[in-house]
Amino acid sequence: MVFSNNDEGLINKKLPKELLLRIFSFLDIVTLCRCAQISKAWNILALDGSNWQRIDLFNFQTDVEGRVVENISKRCGGFLRKLSLRGCIGVGDSSLKTFAQNCRNIEHLNLNGCTKITDSTCYSLSRFCSKLKHLDLTSCVSITNSSLKGISEGCRNLEYLNLSWCDQITKDGIEALVRGCQGLKALLLRGCTQLEDEALKHIQNYCHELVSLNLQSCSRITDEGVVQICRGCNQLQALCLSGCGNLTDASLTALALNCPRLQILEAARCSHLTDAGFTLLARNCHDLEKMDLEECILITDSTLIQLSVHCPNLQALSLSHCELITDDGILHLSNSTCGHERLRVLELDNCLLITDVALEHLENCQGLERLELYDCQQVTRAGIKRMRAQLPHVKVHAYFAPVTPPTAVGGSGQRLCRCCVIL
């Protein structure tokens, strides 16, 4: 028996060890560590590996040096499933190697912002952590193609891989990766500026399960690459192509013909896209929920009409800088199925032709939560006020500045009210 008979807390007397462990499993790190200081019995329980299956060291960031990671990995061993070292810039390859050796059951690893790590870490993960499913290497700029080769050999169960801003990655790395990890569901390549169409061809060939793909700022991509992706990845639900300025309607056509399940499409700053492409897209992809069409300057009300007719699930639509959109397009949008109930967010900033009339139309949108009207210079304060009278919960954002700037956080200025005396 671990517990002594005298001097025993009530909780220890009443609850069996298993239940105590269960309670501890809900606690966060800080509390767990405090509990471990209470008594020897609690020390053993609190530091039991089963309580350390998920760890997030975000709040400790710069305090986390290699030693911490090594100690944790030794303590938790095979129990550790999920570890987040987001922002822990002090962590390096050697501690992660120790970690990989000790925690071979790790499934979810977040190394976002751990800028010191290099390919060596990925080799370690590949050697020891074959159960890895979710890996986030955002901003680990020293990662090269070699890492991907390693991962493809050792971490074949990988479903989510985030390589945002790892801009040394090229098509060779992608090729190696997808050959090994054919079960990839989500691949985030934001800011991997060296990638070209050939990289996408490899994805087409191997990643048939792909659901989410982010190619933001991969500006070398052209239609050819996107067409290939669509042909290979028919399960695609979320696609981000923002910043890929070379794309034309051919990409949208490919999407329409191959990816009927598409729910999220971000195409900001793809300024060559036109109504034709979006028409085809709308007619085929009825599940569309979120669309970011910022700076798709060629689109007109016609696109809005098509979306209104064919996409009843539309929740969020951004038309920033789409200067050809007029009140008429908004009329159709608000009278549609999605307009009445589903539409939550609408961004019309810098749509210079929008006037108060559009706001009147939008009064039909009962579900509307947020409306952006920055730089819509024909919209007046009165118009906004009228609309908010009908839709009291909507947040309308414009440049008409708030009247009083807030005082410091937490410190409120005392407000005078009619019934109170205090100033």
């Binding site: 920055y374 819509c376 947040k395 009619r418 109170c420």
Partner: protein
């Protein structure tokens, strides 16, 4: 006792209906709004608590006072339950959220402005007390970026707080967000060291191009030409750039395509330009000029050709800014450096970066001798020119103390050069053990400003060197008495022709100073 109340407070947080809930800001309020009218606190509870709604009879400590303040979002400070009061409190919460959204939009506008026009070369504040129209406060006209003043009072505190939250690890910002936030902050207040430090970290980890920081600094200097933190950061970035090995990621990405020497030359040119502009925007901009000197020391390694170029190119500027003490100090530095470059004889000459001369020098002693001849000849000529320049300015612009100070320096340099050329090897080095002797009688003679301007660390005017000189002068007749005579003649001429009282005063002071020299 406290443990129990903590325990109770925990229970209350989980939704005990009879006590006031600890207000959690942001997330829960948003979710509440989605589901309909906000559930305001039970009015009975509001009205009935004498100790400000604490229940439990606790004494409010620091944390609870903070919570009480936060509570204002749900109730009023007085616990008043009147509808108007509650509405006012709620409006304030809404307002601060609106502000956050507005500021995020403005930061995005600034980022977009830089994206649309990468050649922005000046920033400024536009006086505009309120936002009467639904128009962005960020105005981009021709390469000038303007910020309307009404948004600054919202913008600055918000971005400031956001960065501090990131720094204290309460909120995460990804790479793009960090860059945007620090950029906005530094354009509004470039003396915010933390923001520069965040950018340093980004550069060191290879996620930010150092050239961007130079560009940002240049922009900030158009509005804040003196900002010390900007100059300090600039020097750090330049140091990183010249240590090429420390930037592996940029090497592989091909950013260093041009030959290193070429790149350094370009950097130097750019820095000279930035300094020149900053000097023009603020009178006697010490920070700008000392940065300029630093660049010459560390980037150009005091290359004689560059020094000569600088001397000639700043001549016009100096003549247009006759009261800019820092500008003239710069010329003094140039002359001093040139002297120290060329008075070191023979084999030592090779160690100086007289690149042009080296290229032309054929192997053998002949060549070396001739090159040293060359530079030796130039020096007295340079100094003569400078004296002439000084004479010119003093005559044209009577009553400027700066010009007289400059003259003292130049004369002193000449004095040294003429009198003690072969001995100067002992006098020169920057790390000479100066200033230990008790030359108190000499101190009043030296213009006191010269002590302050030892930016380059060369103790040409070190007390030890000076005492040796005076001892020598006492033993032998001064070889430069001719020069002294000329100066006295000049002073006479000035006194006889000038009408400016100040000018006369300066001339007399100069005469007195000359007298101390020959003692």
């Amino acid at each position: 006792m406290r443990g129990r109340t903590n325990h109770l407070r925990q229970l209350c947080k989980r939704g005990c209906r009879t006590s006031p809930q600890a207000p959690e800001l942001q997330p829960s309020r948003r979710t509440e709004r989605k589901s309909g009218p906000r559930p305001l606190i039970d009015p009975e509870v509001l009205g009935g608590e004498r100790d400000g709604g604490w229940g439990h009879g606790e004494r409010p400590n620091r944390r609870s006072r903070a919570r009480a303040r936060a509570r204002v979002y749900r109730t009023t400070p007085t616990g008043c339950s009147e509808l108007s009061c509650r509405r006012a409190a709620v409006n304030m919460a809404e307002t601060s959220e609106e502000v956050a959204v507005l500021v995020q939009r403005v930061v995005k506008d600034i980022t977009n402005a830089f994206r649309r026009n990468p050649h922005i070369d000046e920033i400024g504040l536009i006086q505009c007390p309120e936002a009467r129209y639904n128009r962005s406060p960020i105005v981009l006209v021709e390469n000038k970026l303007g910020v309307e003043s009404w948004c600054v009072k919202f913008l600055l505190p918000y971005v400031h707080k956001k960065l501090l939250l990131y720094r204290t690890r309460k909120q995460w910002l990804n790479k793009d967000e960090l860059i945007d936030v620090t950029c906005t902050l530094l354009l509004l207040n470039p003396d915010f060291t933390t923001a520069w430090n965040v950018r340093k970290e980004l550069i060191l980890s290879g996620t930010l191009n150092p050239i961007k920081d130079l560009h940002l600094g240049k922009l900030a200097l158009t509005k804040f030409p003196k900002s010390p933190e900007t100059w300090i950061h600039r020097r750090w970035v330049l140091q990183q750039l010249i240590q090429e090995t420390s930037m592996p990621s940029f090497v592989t990405k091909g950013n260093l395509r041009s030959v290193p020497v070429e790149r350094t030359q370009q950097l130097i040119r750019e820095e000279m330009e930035v300094c020149g502009e900053a000097a023009g925007r603020y009178p006697s901009n010490y920070n700008a000029w000392s940065h300029r000197i630093w660049v010459l020391q560390h980037l150009a390694k005091l290359d004689a050709k560059i020094l000569l170029d600088e001397l000639s190119s700043t001549k016009h500027w100096a003549s247009m800014h006759v009261s800019d003490h820092s500008g003239f100090h710069y010329r003094q530095f140039l002359l001093k450096s040139l002297i120290s470059q060329t008075v070191i004889d023979g084999p030592v000459l090779e160690h100086n970066s007289l690149r042009n001369e080296q290229a032309l020098v054929p192997p053998g002693n002949e060549g070396k001798a001739s090159s040293t001849e060359e530079t030796r000849i130039n020096l007295p000529h340079l100094l003569d020119e400078e004296v002439e320049f000084s004479t010119d300015l003093i005559d044209s612009y009577p009553g400027h103390e700066t010009l007289w100070c400059h003259r003292r320096h130049v004369f002193y340099l000449q004095h040294h050069l003429n009198g003690r050329f072969p001995h100067s090897v002992n006098q020169l080095p920057a790390d000479s053990p100066g200033g230990t002797s008790n030359d108190s009688h000499l101190s009043p003679g030296i213009p006191h400003t010269s002590q302050a301007m030892e930016v380059d660390g060369m103790s040409y005017f070190s007390k030890q060197g000076y005492s040796q000189e005076t001892k020598r002068l006492k033993r032998t007749p001064a070889p430069d008495s001719l020069d002294l005579e000329m100066e006295h003649r000049f002073i006479d001429q000035v006194l006889s022709t000038c009408q400016n009282v100040e000018q006369a005063r300066f001339a007399n002071a100069y005469r007195k100073w000359l007298a101390t020299l020959s003692q």
